[in-house]
Amino acid sequence: MAEETMGMGPIPKEEPIPKEKFTVIGTDDFSGDLIARPQVSYWADAWRRFRQNKIALVALVVLAVMVVMVIIGPHLNGIAFEEIDQDALNQGPSAEHWFGTDNLGRDLFSRVWQAGRVSIAIGIAGALISTVVGCIYGGIAAYFGGWVDTILMRIVEVLFSIPYLLIVILISVITDSRSIFSLMLALTLTGWCNTARLVRGQMLQLKNQEFVLAAQALGVSPWKIILKHMLPNTMSVILVAITFDIPNYIFSEAFLSYLGLGIAAPNTSWGALCSAAQQTFAFYPYQMFFPALLIALTMLSFTLLGDGLRDALDPKLRK
């Protein structure tokens, strides 16, 4: 036998090891096979990963402040948003009118937050409507498959190819109104198509997953499989889609209002504010600045939040 090197390495040679340490004690008890790491639920884990993304976290805070402001903002300085002050037309920002006044002497601070209510409400409502419709539609197409799927998806493609400006103009002509309702109708009429496609794609993938097959083999009813397996596992995709949809709707509304197809006075939205300010933009740029800033900030925050959520909810990134 070759030389013994016992005693080299981590153990100093001088230190003798007591003999009783060399009795065989055998393996540990693995009968229960315990795990060492603490229990982490799906959402707790997602929240942990979301928190690491500082930019998304800032976006979330900005949005939270924004929501608080559109709720309390219009009442903050005690001037109602539709109140006309003939003595203070087109005033710049001052102690009394924090963001200045418009050409009718209305306080812009109150108006901006009031407009924010409408814009954000349209964004959220639009996203929710298109998500609900899209989920049901895409879910049906994916689950039944075959010719049902083919027909439903062709319809989506046709709807997708119609320019939505055309639809908006048609609807405002037909309904002969410029209420929030007809605006919402116009925006969501084709808006759900994207979500439907997304949900269908995700569900088609899930349909062939082994855990869905296992549920089928156990005899779980199709309805329960959709509800308990397919939907929860599509949730992350849907949630991300919603956060990306909201700024889209806000922007579409702003765009339409800017063209004069949006909200009618005295109610207002960020787009309508910008539209009103553009005629006097050269003289009173602040009238344009505040609503434009808020549109940009909101859209940016939602987009960054969506990015953060997508990374946080991606099951492939879980460890």
Binding site: L34, I35, Q209, E210, A214, G219, K228, P232, N233
Partner: protein, 336 residues
């Protein structure tokens, strides 16, 4: 085969007759995943099903428990044609025939706790109270060698071997008679494979289960199976008892497969023993006419190209689909 014909029939838990499962790939192409397969599984035995990837073994197993509907042919479970079942009878069948999947990562819903996963089948088939259900889940976890603390955990917190145990517990929860084990060990480490196979053998003894054990690991199949079937490109090419198949394979493909099993012995000259196959498995979309193995078979003759060999009983209980297996068996060298 000492049993009488009638006794044999009642003994069979599964009878597969002329089973075909085709998938339409496009307007013109059809993928013949399973093509005219005949086999029976006896109650209480383990039938191993081996073959290379794409040979249709998984499709065959899934069709047997009606995860897929067969294109033609029948599968009889306890004498009943499973494609004719509906309503309560179908539910009863699903309770009796279960499956364990290959991928321990994809086969557990990531959003459910282990307890929810295991009790999913119970909710369908039994009317347990919450307390009974909890007790059952704990029992099952104990049977597959896990502590009851796992019930509140999520699948991603577990290792591959532990997840596979959960997959087994889920199948056992509905007290089945027959379980399709679809490559249950291929995704696991060697030391964990042995744990899972031991568990499967133990459970079979305790519950008198019948297994269809699908795998490409021939050594492991030999270990767990009573009889073994070999599939090639949608066809069953050989079916026989475990010992006969490994000691005395008759089909040229089986011979090559068995010779390819590496041994953990550096002294042995593998290359001398191995029968090397030329080329690779052709696509099942347009399989060759006649015998599907003939392009890679060094014994192929004209007859193999013209006529598809049927699975026939060459020796008692030993079925082979090869025109030349008898002559090759007697004089292997002359016929090359």
């Amino acid at each position: 085969m000492s049993e009488t014909n009638t006794a044999r029939q009642t003994d069979n838990i599964i009878e597969v007759t002329d089973l075909c499962k085709y998938f339409r790939v496009s307007r013109k192409a059809t993928l013949k995943a399973v093509d005219h397969v005949n086999l029976t599984i006896r109650r209480g035995e383990t039938l191993g099903l081996v073959g290379e990837s794409g040979c249709g073994k998984t499709t065959c197993g899934r069709t047997m428990i009606r995860l897929y509907n067969p294109t033609s042919g029948t599968v009889k479970f306890n004498g009943q044609d499973i494609s004719k079942l509906s309503g309560k009878e179908l539910l009863q069948f699903k309770k009796n025939a279960q499956i364990i999947f290959q991928d321990p990562y994809a086969s557990l819903d990531p959003r459910m706790t282990i307890g929810e996963i295991i009790s999913e089948g119970m909710n369908v088939h039994f009317h347990y109270s919450e307390e009974e259900k909890r007790q059952r889940v704990n029992d099952l976890l104990h049977r597959v060698g896990l502590s009851q603390d796992y019930a509140n955990r999520f699948a991603h917190e577990l290792s591959g071997g532990q997840r596979q145990r959960i997959g087994i517990a889920r199948a056992l929860a509905v007290e089945p008679q027959f379980i399709v084990c679809d490559e249950p060990i291929s995704a696991l480490d060697v030391s964990i494979q042995a744990q899972v196979v031991n568990l499967l053998i133990k459970l079979q003894r305790e519950d008198q289960l019948t297994y269809l054990f699908i795998s490409h690991d021939l050594a492991m199949v030999k270990h767990i199976s009573d009889r073994v079937g070999v599939m090639y490109l949608g066809n069953l090419v050989e079916l026989s008892s475990n010992v006969a198949l490994y000691d005395h394979p008759l089909h040229p493909y089986t011979k090559a497969l068995i010779s390819a099993i590496p041994t953990a012995d550096p002294e042995e000259d593998m290359s001398a023993r191995q029968i090397k196959l030329e080329g690779e498995v052709p696509s099942p979309i347009n399989p060759p006419e006649g015998c599907r193995f003939r392009q890679r078979c060094r014994y192929a003759c004209d007859r193999c190209a013209q006529e598809t060999p049927a699975l026939r009983e060459v020796k008692p209980g030993h079925f082979v689909a090869c025109h030349r297996c008898e002559e090759l068996d007697e004089h292997p060298e002359e016929n090359q």
